[in-house]
């Protein structure tokens, strides 16, 4: 066909070898960073000391370093997937749980749990946060129905405003009830307090990531819009409901374990979109891998930059994530999806 010459851009077709190399790079980075994460900390745990039979080091590894590393990987991977799924559902590249009020709703849920059932287990708190996250996602989806899909920037703006309102309500009650500080502790993104017995909720997030993976094609079709999905015989409402659950559970379980990790669900899927496109079945392993690598790297920076002290992960993620996001927006030739 000669009218290949008529295309607006003459971008070369993305070749597979390049993808393979980038994939291998992400895999290698994941292995290296996860390994490094195991051996960074105040106490000396080194491969040598483990081989020498140092039982203290082995205990520390099992009780703290391994859980922390696993938690970081699960949170990074699943939160990035939550962002991807939400972007497909809303058909907008600028949404993720923290730009749509979902995170704020879940935080409000945490506060409600703290006030009404002070002695509640963490699982219970997570349950309440999940319910609030579900409500938050539903409210957001309802509100943006009134916003034309093509108003790309308006959709996240509405979400941020919604989040602002819910966040203000939460802050008000937390202030009046003298819970501002403990709410701050919960919601400040950090994996410092993660150890055995305090991260396992993240497996719920991992389970939801698997659900998203299994239903990947359905989310791709949903990303084409309601009319396309209906034409292809898809039960639009059911897939939207599944997506809502995936987003709420992932948001809530990461929130109770590690707090708010901003930008992750925005930056990672957008970078992957540039690399391999938006076919969810193809992109979801990339999103998971890159999400894990991103949070691992940020966590390691948070632990080493003021060694032996830690700075909050959310600060590192916020700085790097905002930088990356600006780059995505201003990148030469960006079509500003």
């Amino acid at each position: 066909m000669t009218d290949a010459a008529l295309t607006r851009t003459d971008a070369p077709v993305r070749t597979r070898p390049r993808r393979v190399w980038t994939g291998a790079l992400i895999g290698a980075a994941l292995a290296v960073l996860a390994g490094a994460s195991l051996f960074i900390g105040v106490s000396d745990v080194t491969p040598a000391s483990l081989l020498a039979g140092d039982t203290d080091a082995a205990f520390l590894l099992v009780a703290s370093r391994v859980p922390r590393t696993v938690a970081v990987v699960l949170a990074g991977a699943s939160l990035a997937i939550a962002g991807l799924i939400m972007q497909m559902m809303v058909r907008n590249k600028f949404v993720e749980p923290s730009t749509t009020g979902v995170t704020e709703f879940a935080t409000l849920g945490m506060l409600v749990a703290m006030v009404l059932w002070p002695g509640m287990t963490v699982v219970g708190k997570m349950g309440v946060a999940t319910v609030f996250g579900l409500v938050g996602t539903w409210v957001f989806l309802r509100v943006i129905r009134a916003v034309p899909v093509r108003q790309l920037v308006l959709v996240p703006l509405v979400g941020i405003m919604l989040g602002g309102i819910v966040g203000a309500v939460t802050a008000f009650f937390a202030y009046r009830l003298d819970l501002l500080q403990s709410l701050g502790q919960w919601s400040q993104g950090s994996f410092a307090s993660v150890m055995q017995g305090r991260y396992e909720f993240l497996w719920f997030a991992a389970a939801m990531a698997v659900v998203a993976w299994v239903a990947a094609d359905r989310f791709s079709v949903i990303g084409l819009g309601e009319e396309f999905a209906t034409n292809l015989g898809l039960n639009y409402r059911r897939v939207m409901a599944i997506g809502t659950c995936v987003i709420a559970v992932i948001t809530a379980s990461v929130l109770v374990t590690a707090g708010i990790i901003p930008f992750l669900g925005l930056v990672v899927p957008n970078i992957v979109s540039l690399l391999v496109g938006d076919n969810v079945r193809r992109s979801i392993p990339w999103v998971a891998g890159l999400g894990a690598v991103f949070v691992l790297a940020c966590d390691i920076i948070a632990r080493t930059v003021r060694f032996p002290y830690e700075i909050p992960l959310s600060v590192v993620v916020g700085v790097i994530g905002a930088g990356l996001f600006l780059w995505l927006l201003l990148r030469k030739g960006s079509r500003a999806h």
């Binding site: 009218d3 292809l232 496109g277």
Partner: protein
Amino acid sequence: MIALDHVTKRYGTTAALDDVSLTLGDVGVTALLGPNGAGKSTLFSVVGRLIQADAGTVTIDGRDVAETPSSDLARTLAVLRQDNHIAARLTVHDLVEFGRFPHSKGRLTVEDREHIERALDYLDLGPLRDRFLDELSGGQRQRAFVAMILAQDTRYVLLDEPLNNLDLRHMTEIMRLIRRLADELGKTVIVVLHDINFAARYADRIVALRDGRVVADHDVSGFMRPEVLADIYDSPVEVHQIDGKPVALYYE
């Protein structure tokens, strides 16, 4: 056969479809014409179960659209709406692959892959298969959408203004393709058009809607008469025979 039986659909007080009874799908290509707001798109939406009629029933091969599982209908009827805006970065191949969704549910069999290849070949999209949709020209993108519909492998194909935003060459290309879908692949195509002459040249039967009602329903020679056309569009239309084919002149 697609049969509409006393179908009514209102938006507020205006009826987009006003008690329409119509049988479609007896010939290869049926063109749906009519002024803006005549109810053409609404008719497609009702037939394609994208919206629900307020009254009346639509049956496809005897099965009520409202009661047939959507996934079954997706193997009988494919609808392509106008102005398809896809925000996702998908390649041509991805899009055509989704056309197999009603059959594969995401797990592609050998047969599904054959359908995909055939659809890509049929629309000459082979060299563009790994291009992202946002890197294509309007005509190429429209071909990619038609390829997706083709991979869906349905008996009925409904195309809502497929010539929108295309230049002359691509308009002709798409219309020739629609003709081939009917003649070579035996599909029943129903297409909304704006241009009377395109309809007269490529369709077998022309149905005109106005104010939510069917106002004319003829074969081409029956339709291309000044009195019929003037009645539909409320303005004088001349019809001339050029090379033995009727051509409407509505520019005066």
